[in-house]
């Protein structure tokens, strides 16, 4: 998961990845990855929310609107939610949100969901590495860039 080799493979394109994570599991998981010095690509920007329950689909849309090539949404495993049920509510909304994205033709390979606990620093590092690698393969999200930049004629 060393960056240089990966990016070389995709002639230098470095994806922009925005991650919405919950404060109690995935954020701490990412902290643990740091404490254990687990290296992963620097493409991800983490936005901390209290709970996956707080992560509104509009935020995902906004992330695409600011030019994200991929979006990560991650929180506590079922049963682990600091707020007991936030992640269950989130999971439901994600299921439905994916449906409308599918019809709209938003590439679901660019929107990633994960349960990553405070103990899973390794999983976080690996997950970010995988998402980054996959997005490098996919290349820049030009379809959405077109939407952002389209002029009204």
């Amino acid at each position: 998961m060393s960056e240089t080799t990966d990016s070389a493979a995709t002639n230098g394109f470095e994806p922009r990845i925005i991650a919405f994570v919950c404060n109690w599991c995935t954020y701490l998981g990412a902290d643990l990855a740091g404490t254990n010095r687990l290296e992963y690509p620097s493409n991800v920007r983490i936005i901390r929310l209290p709970c996956t329950g707080r992560i509104d689909f509009n935020l995902v849309v906004k992330a695409l609107e600011v030019g994200a090539d991929a979006v990560i949404i991650s929180g506590c495993h079922p049963g682990d939610c600091h707020y007991t049920a936030g992640n269950y509510h989130a999971r439901r909304r994600w299921m439905l949100f994916r449906e409308v994205l599918q019809t709209l033709g938003v590439d679901l390979r660019r929107i990633h969901f994960a349960w990553i606990s405070a103990a899973e620093g390794k999983k976080w590092a690996q997950f970010v590495a995988d998402v980054t690698a996959q997005t490098r393969e996919l290349g820049p999200y030009n379809e959405y860039r077109q939407i952002i930049e389209a002029e009204v004629s």
């Binding site: 060393s2 960056e3 240089t4 922009r16 925005i18 954020y27 701490l28 990412a30 902290d31 643990l32 990855a33 740091g34 404490t35 010095r37 687990l38 290296e39 992963y40 620097s42 920007r45 983490i46 936005i47 901390r48 929310l49 209290p50 709970c51 329950g53 707080r54 992560i55 509104d56 689909f57 935020l59 906004k62 992330a63 600011v66 030019g67 994200a68 049963g79 939610c81 600091h82 707020y83 007991t84 049920a85 936030g86 509510h89 989130a90 909304r93 590092a125």
Partner: protein
């Protein structure tokens, strides 16, 4: 224009090695709204914090970003520093450029670029933070303790001794719980009742403890500091005030053959009875299933015999309401009853042990009664079937515990110890008897525990077989126990007179229902969930509700007592304040734009949102609205995400804050 200060920490080499803090500082200094940007070797150090405090004053800062480690590490630290300099602590944000940046990247260029963006996000966020004041909620300084076992007793006494009123609710006619029924306790072998009953009496006589025995919690309303609890006081048919506990009634009661719950069904009691001599309160109850008068109107000799005329056959259940500010759940455990407890699909095993089929196969608590001086046999070890003294007893541990296939995955923790104790007690009473123990591992962690087990083996000659028992059959008056000794690597067959199963500990009946009433989570086995396994072991996610004892997980007496005192301490700390102060980073509703679809009400994990009405000055109805109870809201923000019009927002993670963070990442 805001006046934000950005303080970038080197964390010695931890950050500075991988992030060019100088470049970061210079770049951030150029961000609109940033008044000062500095960097320092150790921001969390005293000089570091001092420099922050000075800058806040000098530059009249109205927002603070500390770019350093994880907020989970130091946000509180820097909020305190800000407060000390007169800046509202909620105007402080941290940018995590250590755990999330310098520690996980190897390319200094990329890491520096990322650090700048992380800080940029924090700047955009803090610009939209609000100065917040802690939320104050008035509270009833009165605690409810559910469960009158040793944990509940300890918790109740500690809180009462701290000077606060306690309402103690016990389902059985007497407090005392499981411990009151134990013979002797490991590792000291001191008599269980001798140490417990004085505490029970203390509870009974304590001026600040209100005791409701033979009662159950039926409903809970309200929230932390302000609970209203409905308690069902089951009909006792005995007037608690008139009754003197003289015992004339049960002496004459003709209904004799009723299995004694206290004796674990090993002995009998009357229809009107006290569970055991030292019961608190020492007042009898009438078992309406057994009472001849209540069943078919004949008899009533107890009433005739009762001088103070305390018998009241027309007694009814009564539901009372108690107002309390905090609740401690201490509902304890029950043993895995192989014949009855095949409730969840996983519990399917151990029929082969013949429990409930062979009279002389009993469980640990039943053996306690056999061994107890106050027990049905007066402490003499006699087997249930014929009262003969068993010459060979097989003790089996891990019955239903540590068993993925047929039982519970967890370890019931106390069995290893009490099995050793049982062997000892048996050998002390039946010197020529043989005590065989089948075990998986001996888990004797605890003060003097290992020594205790060694004693059982070395001094009292308990025979340990490492292995599981596959089957127990009854052949010509003997219980043939077939197992394996994995150490010897050969099958073992023992013809025993009695078998004692160390059955798994499970949460007591109704624990889950109570948990639901209190909005406390339960795990897959029905044990109540603590708020944090390490740091908040007696708190729950329901504010003002605490847990102790075996309702949380299998525990032995010292642990249960320690945890009970811990929970009591938490309550005392809460009550020590004039009013409740809660984190102000909670949700609130814009009542004018709320469409009152109440999706948030359905979604809130804490039932912290209520259906309310907007009224005009004269109290006329204007519209419906959702309303957040700040005393209950824990700030998860689930309501914000489900609100279609975004009429509800969450302080600290407001829509404006999050969107501005995302937008700061625009290419």
């Amino acid at each position: 224009m805001s006046r934000i200060g950005v303080f970038t920490c080197w964390c010695g080499e931890n950050i500075a090695r991988m992030v060019d803090v100088q470049r970061v500082t210079e770049t951030i200094a150029q961000v609109p709204g940033v008044r000062v940007a500095v960097n320092y070797k150790y921001m969390c150090s005293d000089p570091g914090q001092a420099s922050i405090r000075d800058k806040i004053v000098e530059e009249k800062l109205d927002g603070l970003v500390v770019a350093a480690c994880s907020p989970h590490m130091h946000l509180k630290t820097f909020r305190r520093a800000a407060a000390a300099a007169g800046l509202n602590p909620y105007l402080v944000e941290m940018a995590n450029i250590r755990e999330h940046c310098s520690w996980v990247h190897k390319d200094k260029e990329l890491a520096t670029a990322k650090a700048i963006e992380i800080i940029r996000m924090a700047v955009e966020k803090v610009r939209r933070n609000h100065a917040l004041q802690p939320i104050r909620v008035p509270m009833t300084k009165r605690a409810l303790v559910v469960g009158g076992g040793v944990a509940g007793i300890q918790a109740a006494l500690d809180i009462a001794d701290a000077g606060y009123e306690v309402v103690l609710v016990e389902r059985d006619p007497s407090i005392g719980g499981k411990m009151a029924g134990l013979s002797e306790t490991f590792p000291t072998l001191d008599c269980s009742q001798c140490i417990l009953t004085p505490r029970m009496v203390e509870v009974g006589q304590h001026p600040r403890i209100k005791l409701h025995t033979y009662s159950e919690v039926e409903g809970v309303e309200g929230f932390v500091g302000n609970f209203k609890v409905q308690i069902r006081k089951k009909a006792r048919y005995v007037d608690m005030i008139k009754c003197t506990g003289c015992g004339d009634c049960w002496a004459v009661c003709p209904s004799k053959k009723n299995l004694s719950e206290f004796d674990q069904g090993m002995g009998y009691r009357k229809a009107i009875y006290i569970p055991f001599p030292q019961a608190v309160p020492a007042r009898p109850v009438i078992d309406k299933e057994a009472c001849l008068y209540l069943k078919n109107g004949k008899c009533g000799v107890c009433a005739k015999k009762c001088v103070p005329q305390a018998i009241n056959f027309s007694d009814q259940d009564e539901v009372i309401t108690e107002e309390v500010g905090a609740v401690i759940v201490a509902t304890g455990y029950r043993l895995y009853n192989i014949t009855k407890d095949q409730d969840n699909s996983k519990l399917t095993g151990y029929g082969e042990y013949g429990y409930g089929l062979y009279k002389d196969v009993i469980d640990g608590l039943q053996f306690e009664r056999l061994a107890s001086a106050s027990g049905p046999t007066g402490g003499a070890i006699k087997r249930p079937s014929d009262g003969a003294e068993p010459k060979k007893i097989v003790f089996i541990s891990c019955v239903g515990s540590r068993d993925e296939q047929h039982g519970m995955t967890y370890c019931s923790k106390i069995c290893c110890m009490y099995v050793a104790k049982h062997a000892m007690l048996y050998k002390h009473k039946v010197h020529d008897g043989e005590a065989h123990i089948f075990y998986m591992d001996i888990r004797a962690g605890g003060k003097n525990y290992e020594e205790f087990v060694r004693r059982a083996i070395e001094q009292d000659g308990a025979v340990y077989h490492r292995g599981r028992v596959s089957k127990i059959t009854q052949e010509n008056g003997k219980l043939v126990v077939r197992g394996a000794d994995t150490l010897l690597g050969q099958p073992v067959t023992i013809e025993a007179d009695m078998v004692v199963l160390a059955s798994a500990m499970r949460p007591s009946e109704g624990a889950t229902r109570l948990a639901q009433m209190l909005n406390v989570g339960v795990d897959e086995f029905g044990f109540l969930s603590e708020s944090h396994p390490k740091l908040r072991p007696v708190e729950t996610n329901a504010a003002g509700v605490f847990i102790c004892g075996a309702c949380h997980a299998p525990k032995d007496i010292p642990e249960a007592v320690a945890q009970a005192s811990a929970a009591a301490g938490k309550v005392a700390i809460m009550f020590a304040n004039e009013e409740l102060t809660r984190d102000p980073e909670v949700a609130s509703v814009n009542e004018l734009t709320c469409a009152a679809c109440f999706t948030c009400v359905r979604a809130c994990p804490y039932t912290a949102i209520e259906k309310a009405m907007v009224l005009d000055g004269r109290g006329n109805f204007i519209k419906n609205t959702a309303r957040v109870n700040p005393g209950l809201c824990m700030g998860c923000g689930t309501c914000v995400a489900v609100c279609p019009s975004k009429s509800v927002d969450l302080e600290g993670f407001s829509e404006e804050q999050i969107y501005s963070q995302v937008e700061s990442l625009a290419l």
